[in-house]
Every structure is written in structure tokens, then in C-alpha cells.
């Protein structure tokens, strides 16, 4: 045991190289199956995190869950005030408030998921730095919290159906498909944004901006028919939400099927986001604690 060491650099004493020998670099071996099993085992944690977010909001605010509804309702009123009288957009005999609100609900879900999940890792950094869990539980929990709000805000939709005596059509049965595409996109985007945000903190300010612009770039206030038909496939690839929002209107309000071609493109893009976002997340995950 060497104990008498007054030297400043003790590696000289031990005779260690200044860097590890090549070839012993640590590589985490984590298969997809293993990762999925681990995620499945963390389902209770996800549930607890969602519960925490909801409880905290309920305890902190007077309006509680009312806030979930208020956001899209205010936008609906504003849109109606500005766009309905101008008569800009072809709604196809659908009352404009209903026309915009049915897109506002899925849009709000996406924007809330993106902004909550984007900062979910940053806001849980002290925790990440102390205990282990698969890190994707945080953006996933935020996305579920946003989904909960979306469910709450559909209650207003029911009120609107009744008020305008405009019942939803049978084609509403197609909506689970639309929801699946949207959730895939929202999750993919959240995984991408939250993991890169650790490395590039500027994204904290960029993501809300992108989301805000996205509201006007997506067919929320207007219909997809505004876009020239030739550009729509490209539009769907860039903004997978476009065919989804349009799909909600086509099915629920008009009783048509979704536009399969465009929805297919959106589905491909969304799953590319999901897979790419997850792969990037798991790759960046190993160094999260280093930068905390």
C-alpha cells in the first residue's frame, strides 16, 4: 500500500496511462426487447408520474382541470370571431365553431405534449441524477398527461354537437386510427425534443416557437382544401398532423372516410419520427447524467 504521496499528480506514482487503453471503451448492450421489457416494468412509475402531474395542477390552481378545457375553447372563440365573419374558409355547411374546435382538440393535445414532454427531462434532472429508471418514462408520462387533458376537452365538443344539433357521423369509428397516427407523432417528437434539449438548451425556447407557428401552419383554423392538391403529399410528410386534423373533420363532421393516401404518408412520417426519436433518445440517454 503506497501511502506517502506528496506528488500533485498521483497517477505518476501508480504508473497509470493518462487514458484508458483502446479497445475497452464501454458500450451499453441494450436490445430492443430488453428495453421494451424494462419500459413495461415501469408502467406503474409512468402512472404515478401522470398522477403526480395531475394532482399537483389540481392542488395548485383554482380552476384545476378547467384549464384543460379553457385553452382550446378560447382559441375557438378567437378563431370564430376573426375568421367566421370574413367567410374565408369553406367549411361545407358545418358551423365554424364546431369546424375549428374539432381540430383544436387534437392540436392542443400535440402542442401540450410537445411542450410538457420537451422540458420533462430538464425539470426532473435532480431526480435523473440520483435514481435509475428508463428515462423515457418522463416524456411518455407528459404525453399521457396531455392526452388526459384532450379527453377532458372533448366534453365541450359534445356540448357543441348538442348546441348546433349537428350529431357526429357514423364514420367517427375511424378516429382511433387517426389518434394512433397522432400519438405516434407526438411521442416521437417528444422523445426527440426532450433528449436533444439536454444537450442544446436553446431548444427550450425554440420548441414553443415551432409549436406556435405550427398551429397556423396546420389546418386548424382552415381546412386542408386551402392547400393546392399537388402539394398535399409533401405537406402531409412535413406536417403529419395535417391529414389527421383533416381526417377528424372528414369522418366526424362529414361522414366520409379519411383520405387514405395522405393519411398513409402521415402514418409513415409519424412512425419514422417515433422510431427515430426513440433511437436517438436511447443513444443520448447514456450521457444525460454527465451534463446534469
Amino acid at each position: 500500500m503506497t501511502t506517502r504521496t506528496a506528488e500533485a499528480d498521483s497517477s505518476a506514482v501508480v504508473g497509470l496511462p493518462s487514458e484508458p487503453p483502446a479497445g475497452i471503451r464501454f458500450r451499453r448492450r441494450l436490445g430492443l426487447r430488453e428495453a421494451m421489457v424494462e419500459l413495461w416494468r415501469s408502467r406503474e412509475l409512468i402512472r404515478t408520474l401522470v398522477e403526480r402531474d395531475l394532482r399537483v395542477r389540481y392542488k395548485r390552481t383554482v380552476l384545476g382541470f378547467g384549464w384543460a378545457i379553457l385553452g382550446p375553447v378560447v382559441f375557438m372563440l378567437v378563431f370564430t370571431l376573426f375568421f367566421q365573419r370574413a367567410g374565408h374558409f369553406a367549411t361545407g355547411h358545418v358551423p365554424y365553431p364546431l369546424f375549428s374546435y374539432i381540430a383544436l382538440v387534437p392540436w392542443t393535445f400535440f402542442s401540450e405534449a410537445a411542450s410538457l414532454a420537451g422540458v420533462s427531462l430538464i425539470s426532473n434532472l435532480p431526480l435523473l441524477n440520483k435514481v435509475y429508471c428508463p428515462r423515457e418514462v418522463f416524456p411518455i408520462a407528459s404525453t399521457i398527461t396531455a392526452a388526459f387533458d384532450a379527453v377532458m376537452s372533448t366534453t365541450v365538443l359534445l356540448v357543441l354537437f348538442a348546441a348546433y344539433q349537428y350529431p357526429p357521423r357514423l364514420a367517427t369509428l375511424w378516429t382511433p386510427l387517426l389518434i394512433a397516427v397522432e400519438v405516434a407523432f407526438a411521442l416521437g417528437f417528444s422523445l426527440f425534443a426532450s433528449s436533444t434539449l439536454i444537450y442544446l438548451r436553446d431548444l427550450r425556447y425554440i420548441v414553443p416557437m415551432v409549436v406556435q407557428v405550427g398551429m397556423f401552419a396546420s389546418p386548424v383554423a382552415f381546412g386542408l382544401s386551402v392547400i393546392p392538391a399537388g402539394l398535399r403529399p409533401l405537406y402531409a410528410a412535413i406536417d403529419p398532423l395535417a391529414p389527421v386534423l383533416d381526417g377528424f373533420r372528414r369522418t366526424v363532421l362529414h361522414g366520409l372516410t379519411p383520405e387514405w393516401g395522405l393519411l398513409g404518408i402521415a402514418a409513415l412520417a409519424s412512425f419514422a419520427w417515433l422510431i427515430g426519436g426513440y433511437a436517438l433518445f436511447k443513444r443520448l440517454e447514456t450521457r444525460f447524467a454527465d451534463f446534469a
Binding site: 500500500m1 499528480d9 464501454f26 451499453r28 412509475l45 404515478t48 394532482r55 399537483v56 440520483k130 447524467a289
Partner: protein
């Protein structure tokens, strides 16, 4: 990372472990990465990024049920190693095999949310640690009792005292029942009673066969808990062996660093020699003679402080003496009638102040000496002895022999 079947649960095998951090952590990560990639393209090979190595070539093998104390100065890599063992961090190089569930008793206000009640926080933190709800419910009462929060369990956490909040976090982790328990600085948290409860809990966990890795700056508590000690310095394992030996090496290092650095400072020159009776070697319970040489530039009245320590600046005992010094060198002898210390290596610390206070020479180690004699009796595992004092004691009734015992 855990490979079931290949090693018994509770064992840790770490081989050639290296971990690096960016040298300047205040720089934005992204800019660093861009520079690195640009350099790699421009120079065609890995550029000389400035790294700081937090761990270098760490090799450890811990068997199930072992109790290991991990110590070293600030920044020596203890916490980094612990984080790698909990999988919060990943090493840069080397291999790591951990069998069984790892639980960490780490200061956690992090998992804990101020707007939730104590009860909600127990469930929240429990599931973060990987416990299932029924498991938490089953241990709920024990956790509340351990944290000693009582009726406050249904109060929001923001109305807890800071000590209560921390105890709650600890209590949840303490009932994890992992096969490997990592403990980081428990004794910094909570009052004396809670600290003792933590130590008791660690001992109970050890008795159940759990592997324990305990990190602390409190060397006495490490000595009370761990059988094996690992001293980390600048990310390198400098000593790994039986706790008394590796702690001894570490203490010795602290002291000898202090001995060399404090030379000649102060307005008053102080030197000392320690010996036993009639010039023999110093021994336990024998007279201890300390010969002081004091160098002063002017005649003055000073107050001398003298202490003997085995660890850092806190002495086992200290003496105060008012001395009258002439100009130049004055000799003084202090005799301690029976050295109340067990066998070991000790350091003599000295300081001098003016009669009204005011440092003439700061508190610093002057010399060290070996003391012969008996070893200390062992304490009950988990009980921290404050300092090694050797007292004469007589036992009757259960034995006829006269023995010595130790106490604090």
C-alpha cells in the same frame, strides 16, 4: 447490465473502469460537441479535447454480504463511482457486472414534490425506486415510523421542516430491500437520533445478507459499519483492504500532507518531540513526555494549545497552557501522567495565541509518534466510537481476570 445466473445476487465486479468529464463543464455542451466533430473532420482523428478523468482504472470485486466503506477527499471520484453502480451514469471505458437489485440511500429531495402530501410522496418516490404499489402499501407503516413524521404524513410536503422531508426520502429508500445497498452521506442528514436509526437500519440490512457500499467523510462511522475500506484519490484506488488498514493509510496521508504544508508559518516557532518515560518509546497508560522548543522574537506571554489526534484536526484530547517566553529559544516540557490512548499512530498538534486571543501560530500538526500498548476493544457493529480513548476498567462477576475496555 445485470446478468442473472452468471454471478450470485449482491456481487459487484468492476474492471478497468474509467470515467471522464468535460474539463470545462460551464461551456454549453452543444458547442463543445460541434468543436469536437469539426476538429475530427479537420484533423482526421480524435482531437485533443480537454477531459478530466474522474475515475481511472478502478478494479473492484465485491462479494455478496460484504460491507465496504468508500472514502477520500472531495472530488476523488466517490460519488461518480456510486452513480455508475446505480446506473445513473455510464462509464467511459471498462466493464461492469452487477447482480441483483441496487438500492441507493442518497439524499433525495429531488423525487419529492412539495405540493403533494407525505403519503403521496411515499408512493411517488417508492415507484420511482422501482417498488410496486402493493409493496409500498405493505411497508407504508414501517416507512412512516422510520421517518418519524407521525400525523404529518397527510400534510403537504412544503409544510414539513427540511429535516422531516429528507427523512421521508431516506425512509422510503431504506425499505427497498435491495441485494446491494449504496449509501451516500446519510449522516449529513437528520439529527443524532435519526443518524443512529440509519446506522441501525444499515446493520439490520447487513445481517440479512445485503451487500453494503457506504460513502462518507465521517471516518468514525465508516469504521463502525464497514469491514473493508476503499480509499479513492484523484479517481484511483489507493488502498483496498481491511477497514483499519486502509483508513490508517488515508489518515496518514491527510496528516503527512498537513505536516509538510504548514512548515514555518506563524510568528512563533514551535517544535516538539514526544517520548515515553526516561527516553523509552511512548506506550499506552505510561507517562508521555512532550518536549517543546519555542522560538520567540521578543519576551511575551502566550497561550499554548496542545492536542493529540489520530485523524484530521479534531484531537482526541487537548491541553491549554499559559507560558512566559523569553527572547530567543525557550524549552518547555509537558508530561501526561498516563497516556489514555490505545496502540496506534498519533499526531501532535500545536497552536499559540496571545493572552487576549489572536493567532500567533495556527493549529497545525507538528510531529507524529507511534504508541505501543493494547488494541482497543471492538464496539458493537453500527455503534460509532467518537475517538479512541483507552480507559482502565475492571470487570467482576463474569470473569476473575482484570481486563481493559474502551469507551468514548
Amino acid at each position: 447490465m445485470s446478468i442473472p445466473g452468471s454471478a450470485p445476487p449482491g456481487s459487484v465486479h468492476v474492471d478497468q473502469l474509467w470515467k471522464r468529464f468535460r474539463a470545462d463543464r460551464s461551456r454549453p455542451v452543444f458547442r463543445d460537441e460541434v468543436t469536437r466533430i469539426a476538429d475530427r473532420i479537420r484533423l482526421g482523428r480524435q482531437a485533443a479535447t480537454r477531459w478530466r478523468w474522474a475515475l481511472r482504472d478502478v478494479r473492484l470485486s465485491i462479494e455478496p454480504g460484504e460491507s465496504v466503506g468508500l472514502f477520500g477527499a472531495n472530488g476523488s471520484g466517490k460519488s461518480t463511482l456510486l452513480k455508475i453502480l446505480t446506473r445513473v451514469m455510464y462509464p467511459t471505458a471498462g466493464s461492469l457486472r452487477i447482480a441483483g437489485r441496487v438500492g441507493a440511500l442518497i439524499e433525495v429531495k429531488a423525487g419529492i414534490h412539495p405540493d403533494l402530501t407525505g403519503r403521496e410522496n411515499i408512493f411517488l418516490y417508492g415507484s420511482i425506486l422501482g417498488l410496486r404499489r402493493p409493496d409500498i402499501a405493505r411497508r407504508f407503516d414501517a416507512i412512516v415510523e422510520f421517518a418519524d413524521v407521525g400525523d404529518a404524513v397527510d400534510r403537504q410536503l412544503k409544510y414539513y421542516s427540511s429535516g422531516m422531508a429528507m427523512r421521508l426520502g431516506f425512509a422510503v429508500a431504506a425499505f427497498l430491500e435491495p441485494s446491494i445497498l449504496l449509501v451516500d452521506e446519510v449522516l449529513a442528514v437528520g439529527d443524532a437520533e435519526f443518524q443512529q436509526r440509519c446506522l441501525d437500519r444499515m446493520r439490520a440490512v447487513l445481517n440479512e445478507g445485503t451487500t453494503l457500499v457506504y460513502v462518507s467523510h465521517d471516518l468514525a462511522s465508516i469504521e463502525a459499519i464497514a469491514k473493508r475500506g476503499i480509499w479513492l484519490r484523484d479517481g484511483i484506488v489507493r488502498a483496498d483492504g481491511p477497514i483499519r488498514e486502509s483508513l490508517g493509510a488515508y489518515r496518514h496521508h491527510i496528516e503527512s500532507a498537513a505536516l509538510t504544508s504548514e512548515d514555518g508559518s506563524g510568528q512563533l516557532g514551535l517544535a516538539a518531540m514526544v517520548s515515553g518515560p526516561n527516553g523509552s518509546a511512548p506506550a499506552s497508560q505510561q507517562p508521555l513526555q512532550i518536549d517543546l522548543t519555542l522560538k520567540s522574537r521578543l519576551p511575551q506571554r502566550v497561550v499554548l494549545y496542545l492536542g493529540v489526534s489520530e485523524g484530521p484536526a479534531a484531537p482526541v484530547f487537548s491541553l491549554r497552557h499559559e507560558a512566559l517566553l523569553g527572547e530567543g529559544v525557550t524549552h518547555s516540557t509537558c508530561t501526561i501522567e498516563a497516556a489514555p490512548l490505545p496502540r496506534g499512530h498519533y499526531y501532535l498538534w500545536l497552536a499559540a495565541t496571545g493572552p487576549a486571543g489572536g493567532d500567533l501560530t495556527p493549529w497545525h500538526p507538528v510531529t507524529s509518534f507511534e504508541l505501543l500498548g493494547d488494541e482497543l476493544d471492538a464496539t458493537l457493529p453500527g455503534v460509532v466510537r467518537l475517538s479512541p480513548v483507552h480507559v482502565k476498567a475492571r470487570w467482576q462477576g463474569t470473569t476473575s481476570a482484570i481486563t481493559t475496555a474502551s469507551s468514548a
